[in-house]
Symmetry: C2
Subunit: 425 residues, 2 copies
């Protein structure tokens, strides 16, 4: 499906955390799904490839959303005056339970998938619900979008409402049969990921069973970690033998030891937990708006970066209100600034360059060689029409325009999108 072609426009991408490359006019070359790089003058060898000229529009790498709850999409922007545990009880568990009904799942997931198709996200780690059939509905729809995603059937066998829970055996068996169904479906872009909701709703027995499945099927793991102070206290009550919250995953063998692992939040991870994250190469899905909305706090991302941890950004819909990764970027800056000013002046705020890196290369790395337009990366690109934000200034650079887009753009400003060399919008 991947094609070979050339795009022209204003081009921007991160070289590394501190350096951004920006060109007012350049060519980007895709060769069978892989980028050949960015050129200010198109090399002769690519002159015969089909060209699309996007004029002055901004061409940037695709954005990766490392943590999003598809079934919560209908709840976005609601119940924002509650904290995590109350919000789950009053809004989220009732909504997620509806997906047992496949006609509801199809209706709701169709809206989510369509927004994901048109928005700036090219890769995502997605939570479904506990329902295996509805999870397959979601995977079918995401496969059609052309995005590359990991999707997980959620597991929860304790501390869940009566109307939305599983027994340990049911949960493990349903996960296995869902994994078999995924195999049979033969998706080319949509992959399964083991998804215990979080320690409070999963017994150790279930966690260990999921660990076995992750190893057996060789698939990664996603969950939540150290989001909220009440949640952390609760984990310590529930799991008396763990040295830190992460250790409850580690003890089940699902904390990056055998297959890759991505954990949302890490707002309050202590030194020991951060060391374990580093040791296991676990990715942190920093979800700044979610952490603000649920009054969880502001994660010490500067510290994560100084430690060399793997960090990407996440919308965390619907604790985050929008799937737009532009919002995730600006909220990452917001949270880091207030954290610096109000709490800890040892950790400098994040810059625009840094959050742009996190949304592209940072999160993209969970998917392999993803998140850049440099040669050798899988060709994911977003074409942004920032015409509505252009101003009277004559000295505006591509950097100015992109920083502004981080503050002002949303899904509606995406003019075109390519994933792994295929135009999907």
């Amino acid at each position: 499906m991947a094609e070979s072609f050339v795009l022209h426009g204003a081009v921007i991408y991160s070289r590394d955390l501190k350096n951004i490359a920006a060109f007012p006019s350049a060519w980007v070359v895709c060769d069978g799904g892989i980028s050949k790089g960015v050129f200010e003058t198109l090399p002769d060898e690519y002159r015969d490839l089909p060209q699309t000229d996007f004029g002055n529009k901004l061409i940037m790498p695709g954005l990766t959303d490392l943590h999003v709850h598809a079934p919560q999409y209908p709840c976005r922007g609601n119940g924002m005056d509650l904290e995590l545990l109350d919000w789950l009880d009053q809004y989220i568990f009732p909504e997620e339970s509806k997906y047992k009904d496949l006609s509801y799942a199809k209706k709701a997931y169709s809206l989510f998938a369509e927004e994901m198709r048109k928005g700036p996200t090219t890769r995502a780690c997605v939570f479904s619900t506990i329902h295996p059939e509805a999870t397959s509905v979601l995977m079918d729809l995401l496969e059609e979008t052309g995005l590359r995603t990991y999707v997980g059937k959620v597991n929860m066998d304790r501390n869940s409402p009566d109307y939305y829970t599983e027994t340990t055996e049911e949960s493990a068996a349903a996960t296995r049969s869902w994994l078999e169904a995924v195999k049979a479906a033969g998706y080319s872009r949509t992959r399964p990921i083991i998804t215990p909701r979080f320690t409070p709703t999963c017994t150790r027995e279930l966690m260990c069973a999921l660990g076995e499945l992750a190893k057996e099927y060789d698939i990664p793991v996603q969950s939540h970690l150290s989001e909220n102070l009440s949640e952390i206290s609760w984990v310590k009550e529930l799991e008396s033998d763990v040295s830190c919250y992460a250790d409850s995953y580690e003890k089940a063998g699902i904390f990056g030891e055998h297959t890759p692992c991505v954990m949302a939040h890490c707002v309050w991870s202590d030194d020991e937990e951060l060391s374990l994250i580093k040791k296991r190469g676990v990715f942190i899905a920093h979800s700044p708006e979610s952490n603000i909305n649920l009054s969880s706090g502001a994660a010490p991302v500067r510290r994560f970066l100084d430690m060399g941890l793997h960090v990407g950004l996440a919308s965390d819909v619907s604790a985050g209100s929008t799937t737009s990764m532009f919002s995730a970027m600006r909220n990452a800056v917001y949270a880091s600034k207030l954290r610096w000013r109000l709490m800890d002046q040892s950790l400098r705020p994040l810059t625009f360059q840094e959050v742009f890196y996190l949304a592209t290369k940072g999160g993209g790395a969970f998917f392999g060689n993803v998140g850049s337009l440099e040669a050798g990366y899988e060709f994911d690109a977003v074409v942004l029409d920032d015409t509505p934000f252009l101003t009277s200034r004559e000295d505006e650079t591509v950097l100015h325009r992109t920083e502004r887009a981080v503050y002002l753009a949303d899904q509606r400003d995406v003019a075109a999108k390519y994933v792994a060399g295929r135009r999907v919008f």
Copy 2:
């Protein structure tokens, strides 16, 4: 110009800080520019008025932006990695100095005015630059939008760059001649407001001269107060005889003693300053995104409300990135949550109901009986098309829809707007 008519739609407005009135289907009646109230059944006496049916769209009061810098509009979303004083030097003063050129002023202000016309703001307190002619250009353009605004020529006679400053005499004289030009222009919707930039750039002599002009012309005053810790230290160095930053305005008679006064920020106002704000009935223009972007902090709005101070919301473009007051509302919630979690758990976060009140009745009060659809208020209304945000949920209320719009909407979602009984968009 004001007309009499009836609108139909889903209607929402604040009764007070804690209570919102919401109707899935109701009629709003405008009689010669004044609201007659909201009715679930249209009273017979209004049945002959022209009706516009907005179906299921949301009709809410117009939103008031208590502090916005029109000439900074081209800089929005840029330079956000700087703090206040560096940002002024590197981005803002160079941009504002361009408005000496009336052709640039016309070009730049036209874009600003057009966005204000189409966006959700119906009332605004607007800063111009030091240039009297360019200020008149801005007022001409805002008059055409139909919005009701206060617009101020900025004054600055010290600590300003050579290329963008006035002498004390020039500043006072230019202000007087600008006020005379405003009188002659005979605007019906656009009023002048005395606008010392802030204490660091205005000598006491100039402040006092401005105080005399405010009294003589009987017009209000706007400025900045206690935004940033470095700025506050600087004021204490510059003004050895003041007991608090606000006292530098009070000593010049422009802190609400003679005419109304609105001050942006008050992030770090101390007890004495807050007492003076209360005594003088000064309005606080809470500018949450600006305060985050410039790493200034998060104003203690809960405390302002508990003290019974007048508070409204502000975009503070371009320290705030957008003119959208939906953004100001959500950022007010964000800032209050991180302030609570990271700094001071004695001040509860703001709720959706509270920020909705602040954006409507709170700020509207600076303009008189403004900010509600209740009987007796000037008829300012925004019709919001939230179709893009509708979901698969069947139990969504007008309150759910409005809270979601606060998180997801921007200028593009406004379907119609009325100011003082006149449709302007």
